[in-house]
Symmetry: C2
Subunit: 355 residues, 2 copies
């Protein structure tokens, strides 16, 4: 039975106990600063810990304590500034609360999402899920029922899970209303992917606001897919048009930048010949020239609130009812829609601290 110290493996609490000639219970008590352990014993244990480089096995610990101090984060993708901002916001809270994040972006479809959710079971205290694929049935089937979860910008709207969304619809209306207020009349929209929920909402906001502010003007919608390239192509189309619009509202900032490139190539001046507006306020937006007017989605805030909400339900699973909140984004006016004086340039946040 006497266990030989194994070659490459790691020291466990038993090894420490044997070396210090105490029971594993005492080692555990020392490690967790528990009451009633004699000074001399404590010293012996600590010495053993040091000499063996003992580090407790968090997995085993959380098996019994039923607490992992990890939250799972499920994202559809990791490209672009949107997600890095989101993660940054989540991380800020995690850091504060000494939590770690278990990240998974492995889900292009519902099946993959299901797998990802399942493998998180037993590793996390709660889940932050952002995915176009969530639906109630999928959650029911794969989610151990008691696991707290917060949905981010997800289509699902039932009363069982907390949901945080960005009110793309109202943001889009606000932007169109702003453009109209500045005197623009022919306002085109470059849309995002048809299947994307936010893209749909932004398009709907564009249509509705236009219909209500300028009932005479027909909307013009060009297809796009949130990429710079699709923006560039749309921009070329618009520039070549005989009755060119005097403003373009793009479904996101990246598209807007693409448009601007196309306009410059065509010799159009932004905003004098044509105004451009985007959506998201990614860091890039304030750095291009002319600086981009856009709708600020406080992405980092979204992540932050989401995690905070999740922690609430983790801490009192019973008391907290599911919450649904929609963050209303705000219009950020910059040069690209024709502000007379460029505002003072200042990057909104500290830029890269490392190379």
């Amino acid at each position: 039975m006497a266990r030989i110290a194994r070659g490459g493996s790691q020291a466990s609490i038993k090894d420490v106990a044997r070396k210090a000639r105490v029971s594993i219970a005492s080692v555990s008590r020392v490690m967790n600063d528990h009451d009633s352990v004699g000074a001399e014993t404590r010293e012996r244990v600590l010495a053993a810990v040091r000499s063996l480089h003992y580090v407790p096995h968090s997995g085993a610990r959380s098996l019994i304590t039923q607490r992992t101090n990890v939250v799972g984060v499920l994202l559809p993708d990791l490209h672009g500034e949107f997600f890095s901002e989101l993660i940054r916001g989540i991380d800020a809270v995690a850091r504060l609360r000494r939590l770690q994040l278990l990240l998974s972006s492995t889900h292009g479809d519902a099946a993959e999402l299901a797998v990802a959710i399942r493998t998180m079971r037993g590793r996390v205290d709660g889940l932050l899920v952002m995915s176009p694929h969530v639906d109630a049935a999928l959650l029911d089937k794969n989610l151990p029922s008691a696991l707290p979860i917060v949905l981010l910008n997800s289509p699902l709207e039932d009363a069982r899970h907390s949901t945080l969304t960005i009110d793309s619809y109202r943001g889009a209306r606000a932007m169109v209303s702003h453009l109209v207020g500045r005197g623009h009349r022919r306002i085109a929209h470059v849309a995002g992917p048809e299947l994307n929920l936010d893209a749909q909402e932004r398009l709907r906001g564009y249509r509705d606001e236009l219909a209500s502010s300028l009932p005479r003007v027909a909307p013009q919608v060009l297809p796009g897919n949130f990429s710079e390239k699709s923006g560039y192509l749309a921009g070329r189309l618009l520039a070549a048009q005989p009755d060119r619009p005097d403003a373009v509202f793009a479904a996101n900032d990246v598209i807007a930048v693409g448009c601007m490139v196309a306009f410059r190539e065509a010799g159009l001046r932004v905003p004098d010949d044509i105004a451009v507006a985007g959506f998201d306020d990614i860091p890039l937006a304030s750095l291009v020239s002319p600086a981009l007017t856009t709708v600020r989605v406080q992405i980092a805030d979204l992540g932050q609130s989401a995690l905070e909400q999740l922690l609430l339900s983790i801490e009192s699973p019973t008391r907290s009812r599911p919450v649904s909140r929609a963050l209303v984004p705000e219009v950020v006016v910059r040069e690209s829609c024709g502000v007379e004086k460029p505002p003072k340039r200042r990057s909104r946040r500290q830029a890269a601290r490392l190379p």
Copy 2:
């Protein structure tokens, strides 16, 4: 003994076994598609699994299998495009190998890093660490000895751990050499934070290449800290100087952008009056106008290679010796250093005057 089904808690393998009236061993065999389990039993088990929404507890599973399929990622920070690119590269591989990432950015100093490393014990199969604070002693003390680890861009260079770095020194030399080749003579450098390793290496590369290519010319170094603001300030200083340099090599792209803003404000044309070059090739670099000449650090590749290397040592802990590799970055020539003909766009120059 008879366990009552507890209210909010989750179904365990025991509950399934009881419901299907088999032993837990059989349930386990069914879940893992093991051999020799009768068709009828399998069906009973699956039915129970479905009706209880049973999802195996990954934590418990990896306790016994000694495999977590998770790798830990320790970063100093999460700001900026550098890290989002890095994570993207890491994630690409993780996705492919069906791994999850346990992310922690909670370490501003060595003590916090130590805590982060310790809490990962037992939760991960290996560690990817990027931190200015790693040193051999810290690793020894807090790292369960057998845990595979790959260091990213870290000062530590011992023979015990694999290390991947970016060869900032050679990148900087290449850029200075390029500028000299284009005919620039008075080349200034805006440095990064003094304590940052990459900043130091870039500065050293600048000095060395200048000394060897243009032994007559005195180097001029301005302080900076990788922020746009510091670049802006340095740019103002340079623009006001009586014997203004004809080129600026900035320690990173964000600084370079700051410089360009200052130059535009001062009425200087880039690149005609003064050339600008950066370092990193963040996505922004190709979008500003004039597009920024820079040194391309394939950040995503760095993350990718690092994880691949880590997986190698996880899979054959004995056979694989620690590897040290330095990725040599390459100069990317764009308009800001005075290429005669911008790749496609003629009107770019016009845009430069706008703000």
